[in-house]
């Protein structure tokens, strides 16, 4: 099959060459869309420093339209506007706190993935610890009660002998 010492052998029969071309075309078809997507994702911002701060900020902010995505990740129109607004604010030399306050004033604490400790969020913050404590205390009481319930019953003399016989047999 391999006339010369080539690998992979380039002397492909005519039919196979067509197959190779078909495969090649098929691969291009598959790869082409991903290429165009990666082009779309090129960052739009001019200043990488602003972009970095904007991303760090929006990571912890909720997109109100999609709710389970952060403003940094979301492609919703709402998040686009928010990112634009935040870039603008960074350019105006606003501090992170000022920018977050700007959003909270308009959209409420719900935009924050990290909600502040307030009377309404106490259950949210301390509920898990409370549940853990309840579980831990009930586990302790259960274990304690169980230990009290187990009473050691000493073996009777006959049983003792029987056990010795059985153990002795095994030894032999």
């Amino acid at each position: 099959m391999f006339k010369d010492n080539c690998f992979p052998c380039l002397k492909v029969p005519q039919l196979n060459r067509i197959k190779v071309w078909l495969l090649f075309a098929f691969l291009i078809l598959i790869i082409a869309p991903t290429l165009s997507w990666s082009k779309e994702a090129v960052p739009v911002a001019e200043d990488p420093e602003i972009e970095k701060r904007m991303l760090a900020l929006t990571m912890d902010l909720r997109c109100l339209v999609c709710q389970n995505e952060s403003i940094a990740d979301s492609r919703a129109d709402f998040s686009n506007d928010m990112r634009r607004e935040i870039r603008q604010k960074i350019k105006e030399n606003k501090s992170d706190e000022e920018i977050i306050q700007f959003l909270v004033d308009r959209y409420g604490d719900f935009v924050l993935y990290n909600p502040p400790v307030k009377p309404t969020t106490i259950l949210l913050w301390f509920g898990p610890i409370l549940l853990f404590m309840i579980g831990f205390v009930s586990l302790l009481t259960y274990l304690k009660r169980r230990r009290e319930q187990i009473v050691e019953i000493p073996l009777s003399e006959a049983e003792q002998k029987k056990a010795e016989v059985l153990l002795g047999e095994k030894k032999r």
């Binding site: 109100l64 339209v65 709710q67 129109d77 709402f78 506007d81 928010m82 607004e85 909270v104 004033d105 308009r106 959209y107 409420g108 604490d109 719900f110």
Partner: protein, 176 residues
């Protein structure tokens, strides 16, 4: 007995929480702007671009601000209700044309009817952000002192009009 009662009790508590959760709508994010002064704005009219409506122009009357756009599908659902409300003359409705194009917006109004005393143009959505708009349509009730009293997120329905919006407007109109 207790060994059966405790899990049963735990189950009932959990079920109660889940039941309440079912009735909540996560899309209804309570607005922090309720009972706060409406944001300051100065925007051009839709039909007469040379005219400007400012946030102080409506002081002294109760008014509705309806955020709408020609690209917004659910705006079409609520639109006949707004037209009817405007006809009844209970309250003036102002339209905030949100991130839209002037010509398409005007065509949309000719086609479906224009309930608005004035529509103002918020082309880049900046005033929308000040109002905390995140899902069009949204409707705000603003009182005589320029304070936001209610925010309807999503389309106005017959139910919300009869139960909340109209009673609140009538009550606010009685205030000085």
């Amino acid at each position: 007995m207790m060994r059966y009662l405790i899990p049963l009790f735990a189950f009932i508590v959990l079920a109660a929480f889940l039941l309440v959760g079912l009735t909540l709508n996560p899309r209804q994010v309570p607005s922090p702007l309720i009972d706060k002064p409406a944001p300051i704005f100065q925007l051009n009219h839709l039909h007469e671009p040379e005219k400007i409506l400012s946030s102080t122009d409506n002081l002294g009357k109760v008014w509705l601000l309806n955020v709408w756009a020609s690209w917004c599908v659910s705006c079409r659902d609520e639109h006949p209700l707004l037209v009817e409300l405007a006809k009844s003359g209970i309250v003036p409705i102002y339209g905030l044309n949100y991130k839209d194009e002037r010509t398409t917006a005007m065509q949309w109004l000719t086609r479906y009817g224009d309930p608005y005393a004035v529509s103002i143009v918020d082309a880049d959505g900046k005033v929308g952000i000040d109002f905390g708009v995140y899902g069009v349509p949204e409707t705000y009730i603003i009182d005589k002192k320029g304070i936001i009293r209610h925010k309807q997120i999503g389309p106005v329905t017959v139910d919300s009009l009869e139960k909340t919006i109209v009673p609140l407007i009538i009550e606010l109109q009685k205030q000085v």
